[in-house]
């Protein structure tokens, strides 16, 4: 039986990445994700991997670009302001159709903001973090176990669709400790005939590039890429339903707030309030189908988030505004208590649908 260990969320990300076959980590310290880098600095030298503390976040993401273009699994990690710096490089990765993992352990913003947990990079992550028309896969873990599992999954999805993937966590998820059973080491890797590995004079050159000299070629690339995105939206949304069978009020929440919401829902049920939750595990692609289905059954939705209603917009789009979508939120590093979420459920119950 696989062994259980007690890990911090940040450590679970790092170890799961290693088990997924990632041997190239490039980072730059920033609270609250520094343990990812610290863990990698201890582990990578022992397994023949590369840990490199770059001179900046921008340098780190471009090193990821370099490794990704050779077909190897590569990653970087940072927290909100550092991710903003990486956006140029993420756009280049997307433009060159390169798979890579970017970990964002979010903290408060805008600006220098604060170091306490936040989910306010929701728009940044789900709308394409950088210039141009593109998406990245966005995975949202809600336990230390999922920090490991979704990191592993992110590498697989990134390779499958030749897209950058972002693991969108928050300061609490990064710092909290829970027992974890780590995934078995990856054994099967997808073929990457596009990788820049040297031709040995046996094939035409591969080039990792996002510059297209002819506008009609660039347009074709963009259309083709969005055909691939449509497939991702069809096949890859992940979510978890909690007590939704008879729910009249559907909470939508991810990450740390989904945990608080879960405690609140259990309390609400004791008061006879039929609350349930759809917890997105992928934020792009967003689980639109189960939400639209729920819209036909429930009276209202509550988006519980650590931002000013960023996810609420996606919930409203998914349910096509058929039912009211209320907002229960805190920002600036504050976390709603289960009691606050319970109050929102009571209020939604009074207001009806």
């Amino acid at each position: 039986m696989p062994e259980k260990v007690l890990m911090k969320g940040n450590e679970a990300i790092a170890e799961a990445a290693i088990l997924a076959g990632c041997r190239h980590y490039f980072g730059y310290p920033i609270t609250p994700q520094t343990e990812v880098a610290a863990y990698m600095s201890k582990r990578m030298p022992k397994i023949g991997g590369t840990f490199l503390q770059a001179e900046s976040e921008i340098a780190a993401i471009n090193m990821v670009y370099g490794v990704a273009s050779t077909g190897k699994r590569a990653m970087t990690s940072s927290s909100s302001p550092g991710i903003a710096l990486k956006c140029e490089g993420i756009s280049y990765l997307a433009g060159a159709d390169l798979p890579a993992l970017i970990v964002n352990v979010q903290r408060g913003g805008p600006g220098l903001g604060g170091i306490q947990p936040s989910q306010s990079d929701y728009f940044l992550a789900t709308r394409g973090p950088g210039h141009g028309d593109f998406h990245v896969l966005v995975l949202a873990p809600a336990s230390v176990q999922e920090m490991a599992d979704l990191t592993f999954k992110a590498f697989e999805l990134a390779d499958k669709y030749r897209m950058p993937a972002m693991l969108l966590a928050d300061g609490t998820m990064g710092q909290m400790m829970e027992p974890v059973v780590l995934p078995a080491p990856a054994e099967h890797f997808i073929e990457k005939p596009w990788a820049v590995t040297g031709t040995e004079c046996k094939r035409p050159h591969n080039i990792a590039n996002s510059l297209f000299l002819l506008p009609e070629v660039l347009e074709r690339m963009n259309f083709e890429r969005f055909e691939r995105y449509a497939r991702v939206e069809e096949e890859e949304p992940m979510w978890e339903s909690f007590l939704m069978e008879d729910a009249e009020i559907c909470l939508v929440s991810f990450g740390i707030t989904a945990r608080v919401s879960r405690n609140a829902i259990v309390q609400a049920r004791k008061e006879g309030l039929k609350a349930g939750m759809i917890r997105p595990k992928t934020l792009w692609p967003f689980p639109k189908k189960p939400l639209l289905e729920a819209a036909g059954k429930v009276k209202s939705f509550i988006s519980v988030e650590l931002s000013m209603g960023q996810m609420r917009e996606d919930v409203e789009l998914a349910v096509r505004c058929q039912k009211p979508v209320y907002l229960c939120n805190r920002t600036g590093g504050m976390i709603p208590t289960p009691e606050e979420v319970l109050q929102s459920i009571r209020k939604a119950n009074e207001e009806g649908g």
């Binding site: 260990v5 007690l6 829970e178 259990v266």
Partner: protein, 249 residues
Amino acid sequence: MLMNSYSSASAPREAGSEPVILQNPPRLTLFAGHYGSGKTNIALNYALRLRSHGKPVTMADLDIVNPYFRMEDSRKLLQEAGIELIASAYANTNLDAPAMPKETYSLLADKSRFGVLDIGGDDRGALALGRYVPDILAENHYEMLLVANKARPLTRTAADTAAVMREIAEACGLPFTGLVNNTNYGAETTLEDVLESAGYIRELSEITELPLRMTCIRSELADDARGRVEQPFPLHLQKLYYMLEPESR
């Protein structure tokens, strides 16, 4: 080599339900170890226990590496128990400023109080302790305890744990005097997990030539553990906002 004038061996050997160290506590007790080994929570429980014996207690949170989940979270609990708290002015704020609290020197100077010091994780966290070490060694009535958790990925073996210990001792310049077995998986820990770790801590004790001062055991399991673990220390887990209630899991 400086001899530590404190020796818990002078305490009565027939321990009741309490570790010997608590029956005759040193003036200063320091908890250091790998980050995430459980230092803060143990220090908190230890301070509360000392206080319940009627001792004047001051706690010092000297972890300036990690701004999350700080002693500051328990300020109210400590106040109610009549324990002084020394913590960085920036703990739990949005400022990531690794500044040691200035009041720490008062704890070293006022020898009428019992000090419980929570040291930052790993060698990096312990480095900042260095400036106080000459005073601690001069007074020479302390226990520097290594908190060890076999369930943590980088301290799975006694040898790896001993290596972390040496790095910490080298960084801060204060030699360790004892071990705390805090093998746990959080709220899911079973008595078997703790019993199974006895071999690990014995081996660590042999490698480091340090005695076992406490075996932490979640308070719900303390009754079952009686007579089965050495130096049992019941531990109340801090309830943190991210924890799922058992019925929500």
